[in-house]
């Protein structure tokens, strides 16, 4: 091969390759390449170099994308294998159908269980079972009693609590109405305390007032407060007495939901 050209010729060839020459220079360079074998060979080196660099850029790009995409492909392959493993056991068609039905049933039960678990709360069980207390009409009461009765009937529960605080000699009814007013205003602990006072007064008296109502609402107050163990004790007292006025209602309270609440405690 002849070596009869200067490095400037290589620059000229690079400019030709890159399309940087004027039309006249282009034509002259093209002619040079066609007529001189040595120059043609050097130009072919440049073309190959350019193509190799382009492919190298592509290779680097693919390498980067491989790092990104391959883990996803591998994960999909693993998941496919796991699925295949589950499906692989060879049973008869009937067994397959039974297994599928069982699987659907299990999924349905599991789904229901998840739904129940996620939607059951102290507040939801309390609200589902709370019965608004209707005060029976009575006559011949004192002024404070009349006031607390009328406030309760008017659903003015904070008013009930305020008046209750002013009563010096509280009876079972005062405590009971105050307890229900506390439940209505969301203060379950005060309700528990007041209902316990009803029980206390009843235990010391031959005349029992609001005894069975207290059993039930105390159970609800415990549920609302998140003390399910105490709530279950109260409910047990009611369930043990078929004549209890809240017997039917108590049996409607879902024991599953109570178990869920205990698990969530």
């Amino acid at each position: 091969m002849q070596d009869n050209f200067t490095p400037d010729v290589i620059e000229q060839l690079i400019s030709f390759l890159d399309g940087e020459l004027s039309p006249e220079e282009n034509e002259a360079t093209d002619k040079l390449i066609q007529e001189d074998a040595a120059i043609k060979e050097r130009f072919e080196n440049l073309v190959a170099a350019r193509n190799a660099i382009r492919v190298e850029g592509l290779r680097q790009k693919i390498k980067g994308l491989h790092q990104q995409y391959y883990p996803e492909v591998a994960a999909a392959q693993t998941a496919e294998k796991e699925t295949a493993k589950v499906i692989k056991p060879s049973f008869g068609n009937r067994a397959k159908i039974i297994l599928r039905i069982a699987a659907v049933f299990i999924f349905a039960v599991a789904g229901y269980a998840v739904y129940e678990y996620s939607t059951t709360s102290n507040e939801s069980v309390y609200a589902d079972n709370f019965i608004k207390y209707q005060l029976p009409v009575s006559r011949g009461k004192g002024q404070a009693q009349q006031s607390i009765d009328s406030l309760f009937s008017a659903n003015n529960f904070s008013g009930v609590i305020e008046v209750f605080k002013t009563i010096t000699d509280k009876n079972q009814k005062d405590y009971f109405l105050a307890a229900l007013a506390s439940l209505e205003t969301g203060d379950s602990q005060s309700a528990i305390d007041d209902l316990k006072n009803v029980q206390q007064l009843n235990s010391n008296s031959t005349e029992k007032y609001f005894e069975q109502e207290t059993d039930y609402y105390l159970a609800l107050a415990y549920i609302k407060a998140g003390n399910i163990e105490e709530a279950e004790k109260q409910l047990g007292i009611i369930k043990a007495n078929k004549q209890h006025m809240f017997y039917q209602k108590t049996n409607e309270i879902s024991s599953t939901k109570l178990e869920i609440l205990k698990m969530k405690e």
């Binding site: 690079i14 050097r42 080196n45 190799a52 660099i53 492919v55 850029g57 390498k63 995409y69 391959y70």
Partner: protein, 204 residues
């Protein structure tokens, strides 16, 4: 796994020619064909790592063929990719089993469809040897030449992108210098000249 767009063959080829869609198209290829190609290599005395290397090489060759408008579309993309992977892997096995690595001959395609791929792969081998020389250049040279010939950036774009060059003339001089250096290495390599002649002979 993230949802990957589905492509017909013609959509895929179009996407591979469009810089903005290339990544999504390659992702589709991974999702659809990687498993098949990996299975071929893994079931022919290869490991998963071998498969990863060969599949990447196959993709480089395939995308280059598509971008150079040399894919005739006589076979499906899947068959074509499989054919490239098979040829690359057989070549690799031969290299591993042969003491004379310089004599790399790809299996001749049994049909016309594969012949184009075989020719391209012979050229790819030649380019690979040049890429080894390219790696010997300095970092700045490599970066600059990739920006010029792979990213196809103008001198002005490169000046905006880097702070390495004061002006366009300095940049242009650097490009000449780097390219001349690479060309001289090619010129000085007897092995490359032999490969080049082989490539020309096979490429017809």
């Amino acid at each position: 796994m993230e949802i990957v767009r589905n492509y017909t063959d013609s959509e895929l080829l179009r996407a591979l020619k469009n810089e903005r869609e290339t990544d999504a198209a390659i992702k589709f290829i991974y999702k659809e064909y990687y498993g098949l190609l990996e299975y071929y290599v893994a079931n022919n005395n290869g490991s998963k790592d071998d498969a990863a290397d060969i599949i990447q090489e196959a993709l480089v060759a395939f995308i280059d063929i598509v971008q150079q408008d040399k894919f005739r579309g006589d076979s499906s993309v899947k068959s074509f990719l499989y054919s490239i992977t098979r040829n690359l892997w057989l070549s690799e096995l031969r290299k591993r089993n042969s003491a004379d690595n310089r004599n790399r001959v790809f299996e001749k395609g049994k049909d016309e469809t594969e012949q184009g791929a075989v020719n391209q792969l012979i050229k790819s081998e030649y380019y690979k040897a040049i890429q080894d020389l390219f790696q010997r250049l300095g970092e700045k040279c490599k970066q600059l030449l990739l920006m010029v010939y792979y990213e196809d950036l103008s001198m002005k774009d490169i000046l905006d992108k880097t702070t390495d060059y004061q002006n366009e003339q300095v940049l242009r001089n650097k490009k000449y210098k780097c390219m001349k250096q690479l060309e001289q290495m090619i010129e000085d390599s007897q092995d490359l000249k032999t490969q080049f002649k082989n490539a020309l002979r096979h490429a017809g």
